[in-house]
């Protein structure tokens, strides 16, 4: 039921709280909570497990509060409840895959703009990026693997081959 989904959510987003063990030995709270989600992320092909499962939580229930709890290390995550910068792109792409796909096909939209923002694409190159994204949409769908990771990989290839966008690296 709802709770199971919450558990999935908490576990799913948990890996993004993992940090390398810090030299500062006061804060070695990387507990067992982190890492469980890797198995669930691997299942990303099934829209249901990402889309509905992840986010169909009761409004007044927390969305994996252990993961996003302020200043908390409850689930063993040391990131204060915000997403570590190296994971921001992947979390966004995975959580917003349907909306992002729509925007890619359109060549504009708030999810595509936000995505460009996370990739640190300079304003003057945004138009080229949006055009690139739109032109890559067909390839991603027709390759048979219409998933967030495939999308990221495809964009990465497209950008590396692009004269002006090559300088920006997609993780």
């Amino acid at each position: 039921m709802i709770g199971k989904k919450l558990l999935l959510v908490g576990a799913m987003l948990a890996p993004f709280c993992v940090t390398p063990v810090q030299a500062q030995n006061r804060n070695t709270d990387t507990g067992p909570g982190c890492g469980l989600g890797k198995e669930l992320w691997a299942d990303a092909n099934n829209q249901k497990s990402i889309g509905v499962q992840v986010l169909a939580a009761t409004t007044n229930g927390t969305l994996g509060n252990q993961t996003f709890g302020i200043s908390s290390g409850t689930s063993g995550c040391t990131n204060n409840g915000t997403i570590l910068s190296e994971y921001r792109v992947t979390v966004f792409a995975n959580a917003n895959f349907d909306n992002l796909s729509q925007d890619m096909a359109k060549g504009n939209g708030e999810h595509l703009t936000s995505f460009a923002e996370l990739l640190n694409i300079p304003q003057e190159q945004r138009a080229e990026f949006y055009a690139l994204a739109q032109s890559h949409y067909r390839g991603i769908v027709e390759s048979g693997e219409n998933t967030p990771s495939a999308m990221l990989a495809s964009l990465d290839r497209g950008m590396s081959a692009h004269p002006t966008l090559a300088k920006i690296i997609v993780k």
Binding site: Q47, V52, T62, S71, S72, N80, I83, Q102, S114, E117
Partner: protein, 634 residues
């Protein structure tokens, strides 16, 4: 041997030095505590707000926070003075405290900053701590302004029927398109796995614990907008940098707090308002709510403060985007839309391609939104997901830039809705005699209350009572008392097919079997369908099949159980004037078997936002009643 003496001396001097340091700091601590007592700092409003103290009936104080880790004194929950002393003491201690261990000056940074200013703490004598985690958190938030977020009410989930409130911490350099990247501050109850109906009870009595979290707005917007299909209203607030910093410092402290979650009073709305009070203590928002806090009341309270709200932005749910998007299509385009959602390959057909690029884009965008809606709300999403991919493939061929449509809200902004408490005075005529009536309703909105700012076609009434005086019989009585009366109408159309439902329980008065004023208590519910049209302005039609169980001494054998059918309509005549009519037939195979026809007609004329005139007519078993009422909302 020669080395020993200097070493020993060195050790002695060193320890004396440390000792001196400790003595010096404890002298300063005592000085500060003394100064704090002199200023009665623990009685100051800001300290009360920081510790969430409320005065109790006995004239004492009790903090609403229930996590022991939030208090530095063993008696901190009930003793503001002891807590303040303990806080000062903790600032001098090397011990790290908090759910994520940090120096006390960092864990309780809002307290530290306030006390530093109130006591003019000297940085030389008590050096500030290096609050790395707080600074890095603040950097991630990158705050520029604060926006109040109101996801509108969602009638199909009891916990969400009254809406929700959360805050969004807007980032520097944020635009309308990138606002989804901002973090939110959200207060919610933590539900154990497989929570079901027990939420209804435990949520009300404080059986759950509530926490604050900072979930990115895109996750929340998706949850409310795409999965629950709730429109969101965003109110950008006017706070200064100092105020924002104060709010965030306290939010950081609250990471160590937990509260017993009380659905009615200490809920999301209450805690968001409490945070805003921290930013600007003069707002005094949270203290307005003593019995219950409704999110929409919270929004109203904020919108009423002069110049607190900079702007209100509407964020349509996916369902609203589909409805508005389809409205904007021409008849033939709507035809294409209908065909393409079933057979996406038609988007590649030469006939479709004859339409100009912009029009094709409009059709395909609505089609994609609709298919994503189905994928998100159906149990077999894969078919819809793959149709969506085909639609988007066709869309990706349209290279010209097409501007995004502007989506008009379906209902006015929540802060402009009528207030929640309703009182009425009226007069009427019941089967041969006059009466006067006074009524009161605690919450929330019925199908005839003025609609502006409320989710259309949804009724939630709770705890309402009507008193009548019949002069002919010199009789005063409780005519009606409603515990709960909920109706959810979901007009069906080719795209959206959801059943309508209703549930009610309460007391009424009937005239039966020679008993003129007999009380009947019962419960009933029904399931049915609704439809809408727009001949005049807007009309809704519904039909229900219902069951009911009732108890009354007026019945043979004191009870009856049965069911029936009902049908009705609600019509908007003008912006202020709405009428309703209904007809139902009930049969009672168990208990008192006499079947019943019921006819009713009501109308409401809105005199102003918080004043309405109602006229009702009801007939049951050939007994007629007319009622004229003036309703005040406050």
């Amino acid at each position: 041997m020669r080395l020993l003496l200097p070493i020993v001396l060195g050790v002695i001097l060193f320890s004396v030095d440390i000792g001196q340091g400790q003595v010096t700091s404890s002298i300063y601590l005592d000085e500060l505590i003394h100064r704090a007592h002199g200023l009665s700092l623990h009685e100051q409003r800001y300290w009360q707000l920081l510790l969430h103290y409320r005065s109790t009936w006995a004239g004492r104080y009790e903090s609403e926070i229930d996590a022991p880790g939030f208090f530095l004194s063993a008696t901190g929950k009930t003793d503001p003075k002891a807590e303040l002393d303990a806080t000062l003491r903790a600032f001098f201690s090397a011990e790290w405290v908090g759910r994520t261990p940090q120096p006390a000056r960092c864990t309780f940074i809002a307290r530290y900053e306030w006390l530093k200013s109130a006591l003019s703490i000297d940085d030389e004598r008590l050096p500030p701590a290096n609050c790395e985690r707080f600074q890095s958190w603040l950097q991630d938030l990158n705050p520029e302004s604060i926006t109040l977020i109101f996801p509108s009410s969602f009638i199909n989930n009891p916990a969400s029927m009254f809406g929700h409130l959360l805050l969004r911490i807007d980032q520097k350099g944020q635009t309308e398109a990138t606002r989804i990247l901002a973090y939110t501050i959200n207060y919610a109850a933590e539900l154990p796995p497989d929570t079901g109906l027990e939420f209804a009870v435990l949520g009300i009595i404080g059986g759950y614990t509530g926490f604050y979290s900072t979930i990115p707005y895109y996750l929340k917007a998706k949850e409310y907008g795409d999965f629950e299909n709730r429109d969101i209203w965003e109110y950008r607030l006017n706070f200064s940098d100092v105020q924002i910093h104060r709010l965030l410092m306290h939010a950081w402290e609250l990471g160590n707090a937990s509260f017993d979650y009380f659905f009615f009073k200490e809920n999301c709305a209450y805690h968001m308002l409490a945070l805003l009070d921290l930013a600007d203590p003069e707002l005094r928002l949270a203290e307005r709510f003593w019995l219950y806090t409704l999110p929409s009341d919270g929004v109203r309270a904020i919108a009423e403060k002069p110049s607190l709200v900079q702007a209100a932005v509407f964020r349509p749910s996916r369902r609203t985007k589909i409805l508005r998007g389809r409205e904007a299509l021409s008849d033939s385009e709507r035809d294409w839309f209908g065909k393409i959602i079933d057979t996406p390959s038609l988007a590649q057909s030469p006939e479709f391609r004859q339409l100009p690029g912009e029009r094709r884009a409009a059709v395909l965008d609505v089609a994609s939104d609709y298919l994503l809606y189905k994928a998100a709300t159906e149990y077999q999403p894969n078919e819809f997901a793959s149709r969506n991919s085909s639609v988007l493939l066709a869309r990706s061929d349209i290279k010209s830039t097409v501007p995004s449509p502007v989506y008009r809200p379906l209902s006015g902004p929540p802060d402009q809705g009528h207030r929640v408490l309703r009182a009425g005075i009226g007069t009427g005529w019941r089967d041969g005699e006059f009466f006067s009536e006074a009524s009161f309703r605690l919450a929330f909105h019925d199908l005839l209350d003025p609609e502006l700012g409320y989710t259309p076609d949804a009724q939630i009434e709770t705890l309402s009572i009507a008193l009548r005086y019949y002069p002919k019989h010199q009789h005063t009585r409780i005519e009606r008392a409603t515990l709960l009366n909920i109706i959810s109408l979901s007009p069906v159309d080719s795209l959206f097919f959801k059943p309508s439902w209703k549930f009610n329980t309460g007391l009424e008065t009937i005239d039966r079997n020679g008993c003129r004023f007999c009380r009947v208590g019962g419960a009933g519910g029904g399931i049915g369908l609704a439809a809408e049209s727009s001949w005049l302005r807007r009309e809704v039609y519904y039909g229900f099949s219902e069951i009911a169980a009732e108890y009354s001494q007026a019945f043979a054998r004191d009870y009856r159980v049965g069911g029936g059918l009902s049908a009705g309509t609600l019509i908007d005549i003008t912006e202020r004037w709405k009428i309703a009519a209904s007809l139902s037939y009930f049969g009672y195979p168990a208990g008192d078997g006499k079947p019943e026809w019921r006819v009713g007609a009501q109308q409401r004329f809105a005199l102003s936002e918080n004043l309405a005139l109602r006229f009702d007519f009801n007939q049951r078993l050939n007994k007629r009643e007319y009622l004229l009422n003036l309703h005040f909302y406050f």
